[in-house]
Every structure is written in structure tokens, then in C-alpha cells.
């Protein structure tokens, strides 16, 4: 509880509390503005169609393609319009209204910067540095999975993308571990666990950003408040990998771990780049500022220590030599274009950005059509009747939607408004809500065989010129087999179930209000 004398500023720990209107939300009128044939529930059609599409695409068909989800969202949004009574203009206007919400813009801006930073660390040899560390520490077959968990967790915390970390580690670290005799199933699961850790905790992670901005909380404060839950799950997970590493045997592949020869120490310098982002974000600086500082440090390290060239980060490719081809960032190639880590990092988020705009538009249609309020009232009247039940509803609801929509950021954006409103009805503060929202989002996105994180790693094994082709079928892991061994994911789910039941980490709005999102 915060004591506030008369005339003193509100009980915030810095800055004025955020205003929902500023983010284009919290301004719904009590009467639905769009009337649907079929009543309020029909306003859920676009989002329901999209969720069904996502389940079929990612869950049933196993296709982890965000662009495919964009098409599903477009069709769903179009179908909803045919159910509108009267003028369809109000429906079209609501699409614009939803897309221009600041909650979406804030996440998009953070993603663009995070993407550039992550890719710049990649070209700077961060993964090779981590492999070097494992080599120097003389990690053996039994301890390799535990080391993979820690190092992949570090990489994911630095670059913020669990998918990217999974691809990097399955490409480079996984074959090295299997070749020295580690269990492929346990090693793949440990890499996925590391991805969960980073996705959940990194200030530059897309899921961290979404969880914070949708709950009106600053990203640095969310990361700091999340630490206790992440560690509570990570320590037993680390122990479990050590124990199971001794129990589960390898596949006996012969051959030197050639990939370990690519390991170089200088890439470890990027631990400092990563530390700069985390420290400045936790200090309460704007996420754009925090990542920009990290980016400046990363670029400087790359150039000064020769980790990457200027053209690795930005390159203009022209088809014919000209006056500018002498510059280090201009090259002659077959196809004209722009490339480099800054380009690829930002562009990599474009599909997710478009999808986010469409999801918030569909959510706004549901709000204006009354469907959002109807579901919320149902939950509050029948399920979430006490604070403990409300938190369990939030935990299980997030788990359910993430079990179905396996592109975890998309699932998180879809469930975020419910977490916000149900939590607020019990005065649970923004940090607690953001943590509940992100835990299962991060965990379940890397556990089930149809989860996006598992699929991207599996793709590295079975894809063209993949590990299976290069080393043989022993280097391919059946995604179903890894399910029980993604220890950090499972422990994170258990920690939050226990937290809801026991009140561990629970904070109310009067205890501590979130700093404003603009300082996120």
C-alpha cells in the first residue's frame, strides 16, 4: 500500500499513469456502435474465423507461416462485414479505428528496433561466441543439454526472438552436441527451453513488448518484475537437464564436431551489447532509446573488432559498377537491392506487423459490436468470481489460446484485452497482468509439436540441406518426443498456476502502479 498525502502526486513510481485514451483504447461506449445480424456475438466472427484459420494452418497442417495468418485475418475481417446491419461504412471505419490504436503502434516500433539489434548480433558472431564458451568450459555430453539451455537462454535474452535463437542453436549448437554424444531429444528440448526463457524475459522480445504495452506497463519494469518467476522456473529446469543429461544417452554418431571449429571468442563481446539494452530498459528508458544504445555498441564492436563488415549490416547491391561502388556499403551483384542486418532485422517483422494491425482491428470490431463485453460479462459472472479464480482464468485462458494459436505473439495479442479487463476488475496491477499474459504465451509456443518454435527448429533438421540430409536420420528429432522435456516451459506454467493459487508475486494497483508506457 502506498501512502499519499493530500496534494502529493499519485502513487506512481515515476511519471503519470497512462491514460487509456492516449492509446486509443478504453474509450468504448456502453452502446454497441455496430449492429450485427445475429446479435452481439456475431461481432466475434472475424476473430473467431481467424482463430479457426490459425488452428487449421498451424495446429492441423503444421504450417508456421505468419503471412498465411494475414490472409486468414483479411478473409475473416471481410466476412464480418456481410453480417452488419445498415451502413457498412461504420464497420470499415472501425477497422481504421482499430489499426490506429497506439497499443499496436508501440509494439510495432519496438519490434522494428529489436529486429535490427537482433540481426546485428547474429552477424557479429554471437552464436559462435557462445559455442566457443561451451568449448572452453569443456562441456561434455552429459552437461551439454544444460549448457545449451543456459547459452540459448542468453542468446534469446539478447536478441529477443526465441524463434531466431532456436534456428541459430539448432543449426550450430545442436549438431555439435549430438556429435559429442548428447541425447538429441534432450538437447533439442533444452534449446527450446532456452528460447522460452529469452522470449519470456528479454526486453526486446516481441511477446514481452506486447505483454507490457497491452497492460499499460513499462517494459523495463515488467522485465524486472518477471525475473522472480523466470528464475523460479529456470533453476529447477537447469537441474533437470543436468540429471537427465546423465540418464538419457546419445545416438553414437561418429565424426568430429567440425562446427565447433567455427567458434570464436570475440562474438562474446556482444554480451555487453545485450547488457546495455537490458540495463537501460530496466533503468526506465524508452525501449527505442535502450535498443538504439545497444545497437550503437553492437555496430561499434562489429566494426572495431572485425566481427562483421559494414556491408554485413547495410549493403546496397547494384548491377553495374558506378561512382559509389567504392564505398564499403555498395557492392556489385546480379540483382539490385538493399540488404544487411539492419534491413533483414526490420523487414523480418513486417508480416507480424501487418498481422498485428489486423488483429487489433478485429478486436475493435468485437468491442464496437458488443461481443467483447458479452464474453467478459460471462467470464466475470460465472468463472472469475474471486481474485484467485480470476487469476486462474487468466492463466488457463492464456494457456488455452496459446495451445490453439501456435504463433504465440498472435495468440497473445488476441487474449490481451481479456487479461487487461479481468485483471482490472480485481485491481491487479499492470506488471502482474503482463507477467500472467506472457508466461504461458512464451512457454506453450515451444512445447507442443504444432507450436511455431518447435516447427522452426524441426524445419532446420528436415528442410532442404538440413541436418538430416547432412548427418543422417539420427540428427532428426520427432517433435512429439520433446514435449515432456521442455522443462523450463512446463515449470513456467506450473509456477504461474501456483502463483495464482498462493498469491506469489501478486500485486494490486494500490501497491504500485506501472510507469507510463511512453517511457517503456
Amino acid at each position: 500500500m502506498t501512502e499519499i498525502p493530500h496534494g502529493a502526486p499519485p502513487a506512481t513510481d515515476g511519471g503519470a499513469p497512462p491514460d487509456g485514451d492516449e492509446y486509443g483504447v478504453g474509450s468504448e461506449s456502453s452502446e454497441p456502435r455496430i449492429e450485427f445480424r445475429g446479435g452481439k456475438w456475431a461481432s466475434a466472427l472475424p476473430l473467431a474465423f481467424f482463430i479457426l484459420w490459425a488452428i487449421v494452418q498451424s495446429g492441423v497442417l503444421g504450417i508456421g507461416d505468419t503471412n498465411g495468418l494475414v490472409v486468414g485475418a483479411l478473409i475473416g475481417t471481410t466476412l464480418g462485414m456481410f453480417l452488419v446491419r445498415g451502413d457498412w461504412k461504420s464497420y470499415a471505419d472501425t477497422i481504421f479505428e482499430g489499426m490506429t490504436q497506439r497499443v499496436a503502434a508501440t509494439a510495432i516500433v519496438a519490434w522494428l528496433w529489436a529486429g535490427m539489434f537482433a540481426q546485428t548480433l547474429q552477424v557479429g558472431g554471437f552464436v559462435e561466441g557462445l559455442i566457443f564458451a561451451a568449448d572452453v568450459l569443456n562441456v561434455g555430453a552429459a552437461t551439454f543439454p544444460a549448457a545449451a539451455f543456459v547459452l540459448c537462454g542468453l542468446l534469446a535474452t539478447g536478441i529477443g526472438t526465441g524463434y531466431g535463437s532456436t534456428v541459430a542453436f539448432v543449426t550450430l549448437f545442436f549438431p555439435a552436441g549430438v556429435l559429442i554424444g548428447a541425447s538429441p531429444v534432450l538437447l533439442f528440448a533444452a534449446i527450446l527451453s532456452g528460447a522460452v526463457f529469452g522470449d519470456n524475459l528479454a526486453p526486446v522480445s516481441d511477446t514481452t513488448i506486447v505483454s507490457a504495452v497491452t497492460q499499460d506497463a513499462d517494459i523495463g519494469g515488467v522485465v524486472a518484475s518477471r525475473f522472480k518467476y523466470a528464475i523460479a522456473a529456470a533453476i529447477p529446469a537447469f537441474v533437470a537437464y543436468l540429471v537427465m543429461g546423465s540418464v538419457m544417452s546419445g545416438v553414437g554418431l561418429e565424426g568430429a564436431a567440425e562446427l565447433r571449429e567455427t567458434a570464436t571468442a570475440p562474438g562474446l563481446l556482444h554480451l555487453i551489447s545485450m547488457g546495455v539494452v537490458i540495463a537501460t530498459a530496466v533503468a526506465g528508458r524508452h525501449i527505442v532509446e535502450a535498443i538504439s544504445w545497444g545497437l550503437v555498441v553492437a555496430i561499434a564492436f562489429n566494426l572495431v573488432f572485425g566481427l562483421a563488415s559494414a556491408s554485413d549490416m547495410v549493403v546496397f547491391t547494384v548491377t553495374e559498377a558506378g561512382a559509389l561502388t567504392g564505398l564499403p556499403v555498395v557492392e556489385v551483384g546480379e540483382t539490385a537491392g538493399v540488404g544487411g542486418s539492419l534491413y533483414a532485422g526490420a523487414v523480418g517483422f513486417f508480416p507480424l506487423i501487418v498481422l498485428t494491425l489486423l488483429i487489433v482491428a478485429m478486436a475493435q470490431i468485437m468491442i464496437r459490436g458488443g461481443g467483447f463485453e458479452a464474453i467478459q460479462l460471462f467470464l466475470l459472472d460465472t468463472v472469475a468470481t474471486t481474485v484467485r479464480r480470476a487469476e486462474l482464468t487468466m492463466v488457463l485462458g492464456t494457456a488455452m489460446i496459446n495451445g490453439m494459436i501456435t504463433i504465440n505473439t498472435a495468440a497473445e495479442i488476441a487474449i490481451a484485452p481479456y487479461i487487461a479487463r479481468i485483471g482490472e476488475k480485481f485491481n491487479l496491477n499492470g506488471y502482474r497482468r503482463a507477467n500472467i499474459l506472457d508466461a504461458n504465451t512464451s512457454a506453450l509456443g515451444y512445447i507442443f509439436p504444432w507450436a511455431g518454435g518447435v516447427l522452426v527448429g524441426y524445419q532446420v533438421m528436415v528442410g532442404p540441406e538440413g541436418l538430416g540430409q547432412e548427418y543422417g536420420p539420427e540428427m532428426v528429432v520427432n517433435p512429439i518426443e520433446v514435449v515432456p522435456y521442455v522443462f523450463h516451459g512446463w515449470f513456467l506454467v506450473i509456477v504461474f498456476l501456483l502463483a495464482a493459487i498462493t498469491g506469489f508475486g501478486r500485486e494490486y494497483i494500490p501497491d504500485r502502479t506501472s510507469e507510463e508506457v511512453s517511457r517503456a
Binding site: 502506498t2 522472480k228 474471486t386 480485481f426 498462493t502
Partner: protein, 88 residues
């Protein structure tokens, strides 16, 4: 709150029924309106707030706590000012 303190904030087992004392000034979300009285449900505790604007529901307000019963975990308070709105 210092950077260090942020890591340890909320590191406890918090009950379902937080209690407050007369004289406290707290920031709360108004969670419902009964008749003309605004109610803030904080966990499973309730605070009745007098003098709020008519459209106070789903807004964050600063309240002076006037009375509090620790057995029923409920109390009354007076509206001071509106400081924010719902996240959605």
C-alpha cells in the same frame, strides 16, 4: 523506486483480501457502479467511493480511505481525482 528494488517488488505471497486504514490515500480502478455509488474491488476486498463522477467506472481514481473494517475487508473512501483509464 530504485532499479534494484524493481527486481524484488512483489516478492511475497499476497492474500486475496488486502486491507487499508483510514487516512490512506490509494489509487484504484473503479470496477463497478451500484446505484450512484462507485465500487473498487481490490482482490476480494471492496471500497465504496463517494463523490466520483458519473462515468467513473473503468477509470483509475485517487481515493482517501475514510473507514475500513478488517473483518469484512471493506471500507469507504472519498474521491479525490481521476488519474487514468482502463487499458482496454
Amino acid at each position: 523506486m530504485s532499479r534494484f528494488e524493481k527486481f524484488f517488488a512483489g516478492l511475497s505471497f499476497r492474500g486475496s483480501t488486502p486491507d487499508y486504514a483510514p487516512g490512506d490515500a490509494i489509487e484504484v480502478m473503479v470496477t463497478e457502479t451500484r446505484g450512484e455509488t462507485a465500487i473498487a474491488r481490490i482482490g476480494d476486498s471492496t471500497l465504496r467511493i463517494e463523490g466520483t463522477p458519473a462515468d467513473a467506472e473503468n477509470t483509475r481514481v485517487l481515493v482517501d480511505v475514510e473507514t475500513w473494517d478488517e473483518e469484512s475487508h471493506s471500507g469507504t473512501g472519498t474521491y479525490r481525482e481521476t488519474v487514468g483509464k482502463s487499458a482496454f
